[in-house]
C-alpha cells in the first residue's frame, strides 16, 4: 500500500515548554481509516498540526505524499477539519459563503451540498447551526478540494448519538468508496473501534500502533483512562 504520510522520530515542544511529543514514528497508508486516541493533553492535536505544517520548530521528519513537509505544496490533496472551537459566535458568515470561499467550481459545490444534504442551511449563518450541522459544513469545506487525505480533530465531540453516527457513516463511506485516507482524532472510542482500520495511541510517545481488535483488548493497560 502506498504511504500517504510518514512521520519519523518526531519530537516537539512549545516555546519554553516541556516535550509534548517524543520520538514519534508511524505511517499512514492510502485508503485507510486511522483512529488516533490518547488522553487529554497527550499531544494529538499538536501531532495533527505538525503534520499540516501549522507549527514550526520540530525535530524529526514528516513526509506528505512522499515529499518532505517543507517542500510540500499541493495542499489541495489535504483536507482538515479543526477541533470545533474558537469560532466567534457573532461571525456573520453564511454557510453558502463558507462553501463558495473554498469550492472552485459551481458543479462541485452542488455535488457537495447534495452529498451532505446542506440545501436548507446555505442561506443561514454558520453560527446559528447546531453542532452537528456545523460539523457537516466543516467536513464539506474540507472535502471541497477533493483531498486524498482527510484529517479530522474530534469531529464528533459534543454531538448527539445520531449526529455522531451520521458523521461516522460519511467518513467510513469516504474511506471505503473513494480511497481517501481518513485520519481521525477522537475520545469516542466506540465509534472509532467500529469504523477505523487501525489505531494509534499517543501519550507524548507512541504507545500503541496496530489493529482495532488488539487495541481494544489492551487498552486498559495503556491508559486506564478511556473505560466507559
Amino acid at each position: 500500500m502506498r504511504e500517504v504520510v510518514r512521520v519519523e522520530n518526531l519530537s516537539f515542544s512549545y516555546a519554553g515548554g516541556v516535550k509534548v511529543l517524543d520520538s514519534v514514528s508511524f505511517s499512514i497508508y492510502e485508503g485507510e481509516f486511522l483512529g488516533i486516541i490518547g488522553p487529554n493533553g497527550a499531544g494529538k492535536t499538536t501531532l495533527i498540526k505538525l503534520m499540516l505544517g501549522l507549527l514550526e520548530g520540530f525535530e524529526g521528519k514528516i513526509y506528505l505524499f512522499g515529499k518532505e513537509l517543507k517542500k510540500f505544496k499541493e495542499w489541495s490533496r489535504v483536507g482538515y477539519v479543526p477541533q470545533r472551537v474558537a469560532i466567534d459566535r457573532f461571525h456573520p458568515v453564511s454557510v453558502g459563503e463558507l462553501l463558495t470561499s473554498v469550492v472552485g467550481h459551481e458543479r462541485r459545490l452542488k455535488d457537495l451540498v447534495d452529498f451532505l444534504h446542506m440545501e436548507e442551511m446555505l442561506s443561514r449563518r454558520f453560527t446559528e447551526l447546531s453542532g452537528g450541522q456545523q460539523q457537516l459544513v466543516l467536513l464539506g469545506m474540507a472535502l471541497s478540494s477533493e483531498p486524498q487525505l482527510l484529517i479530522l480533530d474530534e469531529p464528533t465531540a459534543g454531538l448527539d448519538i445520531h449526529s455522531q453516527e451520521h458523521i461516522m457513516e460519511l467518513l467510513r463511506e469516504l474511506s471505503q468508496n473513494t480511497g481517501k485516507s481518513v485520519v481521525m482524532v477522537s475520545h469516542n472510542l466506540g465509534a472509532l473501534f467500529s469504523n477505523a482500520d487501525r489505531i494509534l495511541a499517543i501519550d507524548r510517545t507512541l504507545r500503541y500502533e496496530g489493529s482495532v481488535q488488539e487495541a481494544e483488548s489492551i487498552l486498559a493497560h495503556l491508559f486506564g483512562l478511556h473505560r466507559e
Binding site: G53, W75, Y80, F90, P92, S94, E97, L98, S101, R125
Partner: protein, 265 residues
C-alpha cells in the same frame, strides 16, 4: 441647501463618503479579527506622531502615517508570535502615543494649536491633496478586498483552515493591518484622532449584528456609514455644529435603530 454649491462643502462630502466607505468595509474585518480596538489604538498613537512631527517641522500626516504603519505591523508580528495579544499591545500603543504627545506639548506652547486641530479634525476643511489621499486609500481598499475576499473570509473564520488551503495568511495579515492603518490615518483628517475609530467600528458593528451573511454585513456597514456621514455633515452645516461629532452621533443613532429594529422583527 445653497451651501452645497460651495467647493469646500462638495469636497468635504466627497472625502467623507470615501473615508466612510473605506473604513466601514475594513472595519467589518477588523471586528471579526477581534481588532475593533485597532482604530482607537492606532489613531491615539498617531497623536504622538503628529506632535513629534509638528515639533520637528516635518509633514505630520506622512510622518505619523509611516510611524503608525510600522507600529501596526509590529502589533501583528507580536500577535503572530503569540507573545502578546492584539488588544494588549493596542492598549500600550494607545497610551504610549498619548503620553508622548502630552510630554511634547508641555515642552513648548507655540505649537499646541497645530496639534490640537488634529484631535478633532474637520472634514469640511480637507484640502484637494487630502481628497486625493482619501480617493487613493479608497481605491486601494476596494482592490484589496475584492482580490482577497475569499481568503479574508476564510482567515476571519479560522486561520488554520486557511493556512492548510495554502493561503498566505501571514502576508495577508500584514497587508491587512497596513491597509487598516492607512484608513485610520485618513479618517483622522475627517473626524480627528479621538473619533477616528468610530468610522471603523460603529457601522461595521451594526452590519455584523444584523445581516445574515458576511457580504450582507459589508453592504449594510457601508450603507449606514455613507448615510450617516452625509446626513451628519448636512446637519452640522445647517445647525453650525462640529461635523465630526455630528457624524458619529448619527452613526450611533443608526446603530441603535438597526439593532432595535432587528429585535422587533
Amino acid at each position: 441647501m445653497e451651501l452645497l454649491q460651495y467647493d469646500f462643502v462638495q469636497r468635504g462630502l466627497l472625502a467623507g463618503v470615501l473615508i466612510a466607505l473605506s473604513s466601514s468595509l475594513v472595519g467589518v474585518f477588523l471586528i471579526l479579527r477581534r481588532l475593533a480596538f485597532l482604530g482607537a489604538g492606532l489613531s491615539h498613537f498617531a497623536f504622538g506622531g503628529v506632535a513629534l512631527a509638528v515639533l520637528l517641522g516635518v509633514e505630520p500626516f506622512l510622518f505619523s502615517g509611516i510611524l503608525t504603519l510600522g507600529v501596526a505591523n509590529l502589533i501583528e508580528l507580536l500577535r503572530r508570535k503569540r507573545r502578546i495579544g492584539g488588544d494588549v499591545s493596542l492598549a500600550i500603543v494607545f497610551s504610549g502615543g498619548v503620553a508622548l504627545a502630552v510630554v511634547l506639548l508641555s515642552l513648548s506652547e507655540g505649537f499646541r494649536e497645530d496639534v490640537f486641530s488634529y484631535l478633532f479634525g474637520n472634514v469640511l476643511i480637507v484640502s484637494p491633496y487630502e481628497l486625493y489621499l482619501s480617493t487613493g486609500v479608497f481605491l486601494i481598499t476596494c482592490a484589496f478586498l475584492l482580490l482577497n475576499f475569499k481568503s479574508l473570509l476564510l482567515m476571519s473564520f479560522n486561520e488554520e483552515m486557511a493556512k492548510v488551503r495554502g493561503i498566505k495568511v501571514m502576508v495577508l495579515n500584514h497587508l491587512f493591518v497596513s491597509l487598516a492603518s492607512l484608513v485610520i490615518i485618513v479618517s483622522i483628517k475627517a473626524v480627528g484622532i479621538i473619533l477616528a475609530s468610530s468610522f471603523a467600528v460603529i457601522p461595521a458593528a451594526a452590519g455584523i449584528a444584523v445581516a445574515k451573511s458576511l457580504r450582507g454585513s459589508l453592504i449594510l456597514s457601508a450603507l449606514i456609514s455613507v448615510l450617516s456621514t452625509v446626513s451628519g455633515i448636512l446637519i452640522s452645516l445647517h445647525f453650525d455644529l462640529a461635523p465630526g461629532g455630528s457624524i458619529v452621533m448619527v452613526m450611533i443613532a443608526a446603530f441603535t435603530l438597526v439593532v432595535v429594529f432587528k429585535r422587533l422583527i
